[in-house]
Amino acid sequence: MFAQWVSVAITTTIKLNSREIFMTTTQPSTWIKSTLTRRAFLVSSAAASGALSVGFHVPALATTPTKAATDKATAVEVNAWVVIQPNDECIIKIARAEMGQGTSTGLAQLVAEELECDWNKVKIQHITPGENLARKRVWRNMSTGGSRGIRESQEYVRQGGAAARMMLLQAAAKTWSVPVGDLKVSKGVITHMPTARTLRFGQVCASAATLTPPDVGTITLKPPYLWTIAGKPIKRLDTAQKVNGALKYAIDYRPDDILFAALKIAPVFQSTIKSFDASETLKRRGIKKVVRIDDSTVAVVADNWWRAKTALDAMPITWEEGENGKVSSASIAEHLREGLTSDKNVFADTNTGKFSEAFDKSSKKIESVYSTPFVTHACMEPMNCTVRYTPERAEAWVPTQNAEAALAALADASGLPAEKCEAYNHTLGGGFGRRGGPQDYVRYATIVAKEFPGRPVKVLWSREEDMTHDIFRPIGLCKLQAGLDDKGNLTALSLRVSGQSINAHLAPHNIVDGKDRRQLQGYWPEPGDAQLGYSVPNLKIEYAMRNTHVPVGPWRGVNTNQNAIYLECFMEEVAKASGKDSLEFRRALLKTHPKHLGVLNAVADKAGWGRTLPAGVHQGIAQFMGYGSYTAAIAEVSVTNGKVKVLRLVLATNCGHVVNPDQVAAQVEGSVAYGFDSLISESSVANGRIVESNFDRYKIARMVQMPKIETVLAPTFDFWGGVGEPTICVVAPAIMNAIYTATGKPVRSLPLKNEGLELV
């Protein structure tokens, strides 16, 4: 039964790698429908084993160095989420990946809130995908993307904390032979109110673990206004080890017998190796082997990564480049331009009213084309994975946003069944979407490690390989048309995106009848995840899929970054053409979408929209929705001889509930650096390959460019929205709109250098 289940789950997981990642960023109904059988199966499996899977035993503990120390002999698992030591230390299990976004602290706050433990005694421990599979996915989804880490798991982790508390109270009641109703609990101490006797969690945890867990239906979660741990700006649990070099990222995993490998992937995408000559390479110091990983990829293995890398750089390799070797940024632009007017492979996601008729009748017409380039993730920790393979077992030490997908990739590439594999996920040195979908770095490392059975081999990508073999943010063009009536009201709006599709590259099963709605994130009519806020009587929104040979994928704030630029910069043009104030123009169109309007009002209020500014300083405004949250920004900018200085950014977010305001602020502040990528970064294509291969040529935000940043938290406490991504997309358009106001010229082509502008 178990083996059969594992095999079903793994097969599906392999097939579903990318789908797992894209779950909430595609049309939800599509996903649910296509995976109903599997979901139903998983749910019934979980139900059969008890919703909270209470047991007496600690699950096999992972050996990754990032785990909190646990005394295996004495720790008691109250349920899957809560392990308690006799000394009252509470170990809270975390299934989602930590890549800096603070999710592990936030999830621990939510569990601790319901558990009523002493926050000072909380430690976090990440589970492994092998444990999750072995226990019938009791910890549910490990995939961490789409700003879903907290919003998608908050309910069941809170229920886990609450169930553990109920069992601990029950155990204390049993010890004293008193009714549970006579007990209260605070900071891990249970008090019998009539007699003032107390028991600590550590004293009753063993007894609690023997009890039947409460039915989920009997659990009442605390209303957020009663929160004392969640909702508070408390410190992260993982900071101390990040200031003294103690935290071991996957790149740092280094057992004594480790070997190091550098790899080279064909520079032109989808091209192949013609030949290479390893004869001199193998004579160099420390070189162990040259491994042809696949038709496009070769690795050199050595006793030191620098030796591997320099040997690989010196090795003669010739490539079969084919037709793709002729592709350039210019030829791609031409391909995308065709999509702006074509009637082939185009679909309208929204077509309300009669756009053409209304546009023709309008008294003022505005038309523009915007363009956004490919950009790369540039996680500070380059792609890497260490694998130890034997014919009996394969293990991977890896930074991944989806440990179950990493496990599936390891099983697939090693040829071993999943139950003979394990993946240890470390804290990621950046993820941003790169480490969620294709676990290409796991596959490469597994193939190389198979050449050295029993020895761990770390395959580390050079920055150049990382930057030129990314899954890039999709390139796009967008043509927009607007018609105003004689009073300056927007009566007709059309928008056509022509550009590359993430689904086409990573998850074609999500494209239904040739329609890829995902590329229109933020323009969707339906509420929930990424809804368009503007109401326009005659509205047409279309997507023309135009793919290239460049691989694309999710890039933090997936698709909302480009889509917010297209729409919000164009709305600025329309607002100016109408003669109305930019804020008032938007307010009028957002009347029927109160949450979009609310966050816009919040930013206008806190930034002081329209206040008297110093000479030469100009404001710009933007709003958008993505990842279940509502965001708006106001930028204050000066422009002198093409040099753009962003002086101040005020960023408002309504993410529903705020689990840790200080960490939400950290994500909002971080959004500025990623938002700046939209303005200054570009991965361009020449001779079929990416030109910008390192930070010397690839422009990226640095300290000197950072403005004053202010975070506006505007929660309405009636939904759960994402935090890691949604605010990025309003950064660039707010700045671009301020530049427009400053110079009188709209910014339509990115990066800024295309418009003769530079960010200083």
């Binding site: 508070k232 949450k595 502040e669 640095r702 004053k708 309405t716």
Partner: protein
């Protein structure tokens, strides 16, 4: 054999003289707190101190470090109590944390030669890349470590967005009262009702 003085300890390594110090530290000696980021002295993740000055070890041949005092993040202080490390913890500066070894050593070197840096001094000295965008807190952390009085913590305004039902308003009121600290930034306060979450008080 090349002799190195790292964090006050002597190490002898048998490596090519041109091997970058980074790879000697990481792959030969096992000091992995120093990170690889770009290999071309652009990102600063590999920053170490050589005789107190910040050096990008990915582009610094090990032979040139012989006979000098090398300090890595592991050796900046015995117990993570260097003022920069304390400030980093107090402000929760790191996000993913990968670049922070380099950021912290660059900041420590700045404060050593310029104990009261201005914002411009910080801009000029702190050229390391952080992809999580912790720049704002890095700046605040340096000011806090230097006790310049300009260490402005994160500015957080609480706002009551429109369109909430009565129950939410109750929840929001509770939140607003418990989370909000009085404002201390005059340029923020001048724009109306606001709040400033002060890390020192949190």
């Amino acid at each position: 054999m090349i002799s190195l003085q790292i964090n006050g300890r002597k190490n002898s390594v048998d490596v090519e003289p041109e091997m970058p110090l980074l790879w000697v530290l990481r792959d030969e000696i096992g000091l992995t707190g120093t990170k690889y980021g770009c290999g071309v002295a652009q990102c600063g993740s590999c920053t170490v101190l050589i005789d107190g000055a910040p050096v990008r070890s990915c582009s610094f041949p090990v032979s040139a470090a012989s006979g000098k005092n090398i300090t890595t993040i592991e050796g900046l202080s015995a117990d993570a109590t260097h003022p920069v490390q304390l400030a980093w913890k107090a402000l929760d500066v790191p996000q993913c944390g990968y670049c922070q070894s380099g950021q912290i050593l660059a900041a420590a070197a700045l404060l050593k030669r310029n104990p009261k840096p201005s914002d411009q001094d910080i801009d000029e000295a702190m050229t390391n890349i952080c992809r999580c965008g912790s720049y704002r807190r890095i700046r605040a952390g340096i000011h806090q470590a230097a006790q310049t009085g300009k260490g402005i913590p994160s500015v957080i305004h609480m706002s009551q967005a429109d369109a909430v039902d009565a129950a939410s308003m109750v929840a929001m009121t509770q939140h607003t009262h418990t989370q909000v600290q009085p404002a201390s930034m005059s340029d923020v306060c001048s724009m109306g009702e606001c709040c400033n979450h002060d890390h020192d008080q949190a």
